[in-house]
């Protein structure tokens, strides 16, 4: 298929000629004159550009997701229904406001109004997906929608009040129409488009992907574009060609093979969240704090790993849990302990034309105690200053094994090997932990930047080991400022 097809305003839109990295936001505003959707940052952080994409789920119904239009590339819309703030009233069919919109008006949840379209769309997705969630869920839903005016109170009220209203009669037929149109777009076929000069490929299988990547070793792979999107909007990088992983079916699977969770590289945070949380509750809590709903709906663990950033949040947790990465080049597949994948800052063990196929996360053995902690200036939607994960095996109070991994402490996610060594075989005691904290100073030489000073990073990393110790030994102690506080003790 050599055209981009998606549903917009009740119609199947077909575009054969498009700049592969043209953002959905710009297309809406510049090409469609649909200026209800706003730009506040063009980097996925403010949520003013939030739109909702609906996709056909496996059961044939629509799944609604809030996304940041500013860092979604147009061809990524293929096979989806794009809904913007302008749609909602029209879908009501009777000229009334959608219950989400009405609730915002009634609670005075808009002041300057610039964040409002994005908030409407985030809440619209929530309205469609959940029924009267509690305030923590509302906070999670809105973590990626900054509002500088209201202080959020009325918005949170609106998120409750919206459920008092009912959607208009236009919705059911509109959904039915969208479903029938989406079905016209073959879901098992690859797609490619170009603007004549630059190309976008969306293969449908990993073999197809391997083939393409071999042919275009300089291609930029894109999964959720929550990193790559910024290369375009903030660095004006010209990418050619782009290979999109979002339609590669076998990368979009998450499987439990009994020993391991095999997380396909195309699996988003949102998709992985519950599955991982069941095994590693605190890893689930970490995922809850990665980016925002919009970012988690797009971003992948595969991308987080492949990106190779020293401050990505999942690698420390994955490494502490002894995860492996599966890499594919052509038809060759190799497996590597994830920690070995990160060679040094900006350098990973990945060959030309090789891609991340999956992450293999061992199912948690019942004797493994696991915790992860994310330290950032703001709790939600922030990049870590330091992120630490701990996996401990005790035998009669003696440390049988411990794996400690930190992001933000070195040029790559890195284990605290000396601290680990100092603990293994020792009593899991406060005294020994304090010693290990000292030893840890030899493991890392963190740097100072806008997120934290080297001193703070070191101090907090050491203290997190103490926190881990306290949580594993004192079942009463309160240690969590946010999130599900019980996670300290499960």
């Amino acid at each position: 298929m050599t055209s981009l097809q998606f549903v917009f305003r009740g119609e199947l839109r077909e575009i054969a000629d498009i700049d592969p990295t043209y953002s959905v936001l710009r297309w809406l505003r510049e090409e469609e004159g649909a200026v209800g959707t706003k730009e506040g940052c063009a980097e996925g952080d403010c949520g003013a550009c939030t739109v909702v994409l609906a996709e056909l789920g496996s059961d044939g119904s629509l799944e609604y997701k809030a996304l940041n239009a500013c860092i979604q590339f147009m061809p990524m819309l293929h096979g989806k229904w794009l809904l913007t703030v302008e749609d909602l009233e029209a879908l009501q069919a009777d000229g009334s406001l959608h219950p989400v919109q009405q609730a915002i008006v009634d609670t005075s949840a808009s002041q300057c109004g610039f964040c409002t379209p994005g908030i409407v769309m985030s809440l619209f997705a929530l309205y469609r997906n959940e029924n009267r969630p509690n305030v923590n869920r509302v906070n999670d839903c809105l973590a990626g929608n900054l509002c500088r005016c209201t202080g959020y109170g009325p918005i949170i009220d609106a998120a409750q009040k919206m459920y008092d209203g009912t959607e208009g009669e236009g919705f059911t037929p509109a959904e039915a129409n969208a479903i029938s149109l989406l079905k016209l777009i073959p879901s098992d076929q690859g797609m490619s488009v170009s603007d004549g000069e630059r190309h976008f490929f969306a293969p449908a299988s990993s073999d197809e992907l391997a083939e393409l990547y071999k042919k275009y070793p300089n291609a930029t792979l894109v999964a959720g574009a929550t990193d790559v999107g910024l290369w375009v909007t903030k660095m004006q990088r010209v990418l050619e060609p782009v290979i999109y992983l979002g339609r590669v079916r076998d990368l979009r699977e998450i499987k439990d093979n009994g020993d391991n969770l095999i997380i396909g590289a195309g699996i988003t945070y949102s998709e992985a969240h519950q599955v991982i949380a069941e095994q590693y509750p605190d890893f689930g809590e970490l995922i809850r704090r990665i980016g925002s709903t919009q970012v988690r709906n797009a971003g992948t663990i595969g991308g987080n790993v492949a990106n190779g950033s020293p401050i990505g949040d999942t690698p420390p947790a994955l490494i502490a849990a002894d995860a492996k990465v599966l890499l594919q080049k052509g038809s060759d597949i190799r497996e590597l302990p994830l920690q070995d994948f990160f060679i040094e800052y900006g350098k990973q063990d990945r060959f030309e034309s090789e891609f991340v196929k999956a992450i293999k996360l061992p199912n948690r053995a019942s004797d493994v105690i696991f915790r992860s902690y994310k330290i950032s200036k703001r709790f939600d939607q922030d990049i870590s200053a330091a992120c630490g994960a701990f996996a401990l095996k005790l035998n009669d109070g003696i440390v049988k094994d411990i794996r400690i991994c930190f992001g933000g402490m070195a040029g790559t996610p890195a284990r605290a090997k000396q601290a680990e060594a100092s603990l293994i075989g020792q009593n899991w005691s406060e005294e020994n932990v304090e010693k290990a904290m000292q030893v840890m100073e030899g493991d890392y030489t963190p740097m100072t930047d806008m997120r934290a000073t080297a001193d703070y990073r070191m101090m907090v990393a050491k203290n997190l080991l103490m926190k881990f110790y306290l949580e594993t030994t004192d079942t009463q102690i309160e240690t969590r400022v946010v999130g599900e506080k019980e996670l300290a003790h499960v």
């Binding site: 004159g33 302008e86 005075s108 002041q111 918005i155 903030k234 939600d380």
Partner: protein
């Protein structure tokens, strides 16, 4: 009832004053129909502008080769300082803000040139081809550095009363210390933008996202070397301003107008978020030093303060801001012997500017810190020390600038809030909790605010409005104020509706436009509804008087017999619908249009002698904040907030509550997560929301109890006895800072004062925990 046929039987109009009228644009915000400058359909052939910025903090420009850029695809126009027909300046006061750098650059991000092309991508691509050679000069990047080198944008200013030094010397207790207070990015969600459309002759029309259209107009005219009458500025609404769009939008407007006039094509300059944060000013950060003498009760006998703020490379509004910090050095406290020295440091960083509170919050921050530290030293509840030092109602009520505080209500507000927030009980519980909780600690603090209302530059306290009634009885309202989310348009429309006794739906609010109401002041200093409400009322009253006279004549009654009822007028026993009256008046050739004007009375100020009445009145409020702090990581969270705030007789309680909550959260953000960080070369590294963290949804305290003070009534004759609300409650965020400090102090069982700097990021908190622990040990 249709909008077109007003109900003439009811006994109360819809949307009069004191009513909870919803924001006039609410329904347009939610369906995306509210138009911001970037949403206006672009005129055919419009150019997009990108600004070339300095990459070094301080340098001579040795050479500039822009030839490749000029030849770049799609480029229609390149502007540098040579291409400005008028004056190369967009400053609000002093003439020290060049539109384009001339010979030298003074901060990273300073505009050097503009390139306009068919698309923004082409303009940006072209800009990369500019070759600029610098000869670097030593740069002053911090307040400390500027103080050492005596680098100031204006002369230091001193305000003194009594004998501060003498009383400190003889006091029983003395504290001498210093504290750092960070700046704050406005982070209006809608970035800076201007779009200019060239007109006939020397005319140009500029759509500008500005809080101050008149100043934009003057600056555009000055840059183009045309009279003010050639330039029209129009602003319907802002996607947030918070002070950030008071002076500096003149830059975007001037550049877009210059391009428009140079090319004859419409031109838009919209800053990308990162460029916006690098190029435009923020709240001033301060370095404070203080010495205070006090007695066993914590009563301050003498206090000496040093304010050193970072102006950046130019003055902008720094003098007024630093002055306002001085005016608020007392907050609600009687300081008979006081000296404040204020230094306005010139640094090679962006020029700091207005931000909600305009120096006031910084001034309050210091005295609250001092009081908190006194309490710690005496092992007293800070609340008690605060109350001890309050201004009296009838005595001990003269500010350091010799203005008598005539409307002091802080005693009552404090008492009510102490009670309603259960402060004492909770404080005791918190101390108990802290004894048993090893890692997490709680803290609580209650802080007051008294905020002076009026521009301290007296002449700015004037406003104009324009009201038309059309023959169908519908009303069009225009005034000099800007709607930036604060609900100003709604409030002023309420005033007009009230005046005419017509439903608010009959009043159409229109974009602020320099050709309709001229010579306006910025919508700032919380004065928007005070001043524009009064001006609109004056305009409405003029017409109303004409209509009253007319009605009296028509019905052969006396003017006293004319009574204005909802959507109608009663004359004696007759009633006539407002619409009919208006039509009759028109047929009888009565003018149905009027301007209105207001100048705030009573105010005057002699800056040289620091004497006068700079403020018409004061706004008051108080907040109690409770926090939870993780002493292993420094992470902290506000868990409960109780606020009692005085807005006089609220014109619109819903809107006022929204202002109070939003301001508090912004103030708390300033003092907790919002950190501006420059690297050693003077480059701002927190220049986007990815690195600069304003409060997100979950940062809001789950338990937030906000009330407007029911007894509130402005002692002065303001618009319906209301009080300004925009800025004062931001100051209440200070309670969050002190609550965190209180939690930290628990680590040493309140032995060691944490002496926390702001913002209280997790890092600063953990460092303070570590420091206090070490101090307690030694």
């Amino acid at each position: 009832m249709s909008k077109l046929i007003p109900d003439i039987t009811k006994d109360k109009i819809a949307g009069g004053v004191y009513q909870n009228k919803l924001h006039d644009s609410g329904h347009k915000h939610v369906n995306g129909q509210a138009v911001y400058v970037d949403d206006i359909p672009e005129p055919h052939g419009m150019l997009h502008i990108y600004m070339g910025m300095s990459t070094v903090a301080h340098a001579k420009i040795k050479s500039m080769d822009l030839s490749e850029m000029r030849a770049s695809e799609g480029v229609a126009c390149v502007l540098t300082v040579e291409d400005i027909p008028g004056i190369n300046d967009y400053s609000p006061v002093k003439g020290d803000d060049p539109i384009f750098a001339e010979g030298k650059v003074e901060f990273i991000g300073q505009p050097i040139f503009a390139v306009a092309a068919d698309t923004i991508d082409l303009a940006r691509a072209a800009a990369k081809k500019a070759v600029i050679e610098y000869e670097e000069l030593p740069a002053i990047l911090t307040i400390a550095d500027a103080m050492e080198k005596g680098s100031y944008v204006s002369d230091p200013h001193v305000m003194a009363r009594g004998d501060a030094d003498g009383r400190i010397a003889t006091a029983k207790h003395v504290i001498k210390n210093s504290v750092e207070l960070g700046g704050q990015e406005q982070f209006y969600l809608e970035g800076m933008i201007a779009m200019s459309i060239p007109g006939e002759d020397d005319e140009v029309k500029v759509y500008s996202s500005t809080q101050h259209p008149s100043e934009v107009q003057h600056n555009v005219a000055k840059a183009l070397a045309v009279p003010d009458h050639a330039v029209t500025i129009e602003t319907r609404r802002l996607g947030g301003g918070f002070g950030g769009k008071e002076s500096q939008p003149a830059l975007m407007a001037s550049v877009s107008a210059l391009v428009a006039k140079a090319t004859g094509r419409a031109a838009k300059l919209r800053l990308d978020r990162d460029d916006d944060m690098v190029m435009t000013g923020k709240r001033h950060d301060f370095h404070f030093e203080y010495e205070v003498g006090f007695n066993d009760d914590g009563l301050i006998e003498g206090v000496s303060m040093l304010h050193a703020c970072r102006a950046g490379y130019s003055s902008d509004l720094t003098d007024a801001i630093a002055d306002r910090a001085m005016f608020h050095c007392d907050n609600v406290y009687w300081l008979p012997n006081i000296k404040v020295e204020s230094y306005r440091c010139k640094t090679n960083t962006v020029s700091n500017t207005a931000f909600r509170g305009f120096g006031g919050p910084q001034g309050v921050f210091l005295i609250e810190r001092i009081i908190d530290e006194i309490a710690a030293k005496l092992d007293k509840d800070p609340l008690e020390v605060r109350q001890k030092n309050f201004y009296g109602v009838d005595d001990n009520n003269v500010t350091p600038y010799h203005m008598t505080v005539e409307d002091n209500v802080i005693h009552e507000i404090f008492e009510e809030l102490e009670e309603s927030s259960d402060y004492q009980k909770r404080r005791a519980e918190i101390r108990e909790f802290n004894k048993h909780s090893k890692v997490l600690k709680k803290g609580i603090a209650m802080t007051p605010v008294k905020f002076g209302i009026s521009f301290t530059t007296t002449f700015l306290n004037q406003a104009g409005a324009l009201v038309h009634i059309y023959t169908d009885g519908s009303v069009k309202l225009n005034h000099g104020g800007i709607e930036m989310g604060q609900g100003l348009f709604t409030k002023v429309a309420q005033v007009v509706a009230e005046e005419f006794q017509i439903d608010i739906e009959r009043v159409k609010i229109t974009a602020t436009d320099t050709s309709k109401v001229p010579n306006t002041s910025a919508t700032a200093a919380s004065s928007g509804s005070d001043m524009n409400g009064m001006a609109a009322q004056a305009a409405a009253r003029t017409i109303k008087q004409r209509l009253t006279d007319f009605a009296a004549t028509q019905f052969q009654a006396s003017v006293e017999d004319v009574e204005w009822l909802p959507n109608r007028v009663r004359v004696g026993s007759e009633e006539i619908a407002f619409t009919d009256l208006v039509k009759q008046a028109y047929l009888n050739r009565i003018s149905l249009s009027s301007t209105g004007y207001y100048a705030t009375p009573k105010i005057h100020y002699d800056r040289e002698n620091c004497k006068g009445r700079p403020f018409f009145y004061f706004s008051y409020g108080a907040a109690v904040t409770e926090v939870l702090v993780d002493t292993l990581t420094g992470e902290n969270k506000i868990t409960r907030v109780d606020i009692l705030h005085d807005v006089g007789k609220s014109l619109n309680p819903t809107i006022d509550l929204g202002q109070v909550e939003g301001a508090y959260v912004q103030g708390a953000g300033w003092l907790t997560t919002e950190e501006l960080w420059w690297d050693q070369t003077g480059r701002l590294r927190t220049h986007a929301p990815s690195t600069y963290k304003i409060p997100a949804c979950s940062d809001r305290a789950e338990d937030m109890r906000i009330s407007l003070w029911e007894k509130g009534k402005n002692a002065e004759e303001t618009i319906y006895r209301s009080k300004a609300v925009g800025e004062p409650p931001l100051v209440l965020g200070i309670s969050a800072f002190h609550a965190i400090s209180d939690a930290i102090a628990s680590v040493t069982d309140y032995e060691v004062y944490p002496a926390l700097d702001a913002p209280a990021t997790a890092e600063r908190v953990l460092m303070a925990v570590d420091r206090t622990k070490k101090a307690a040990k030694s």
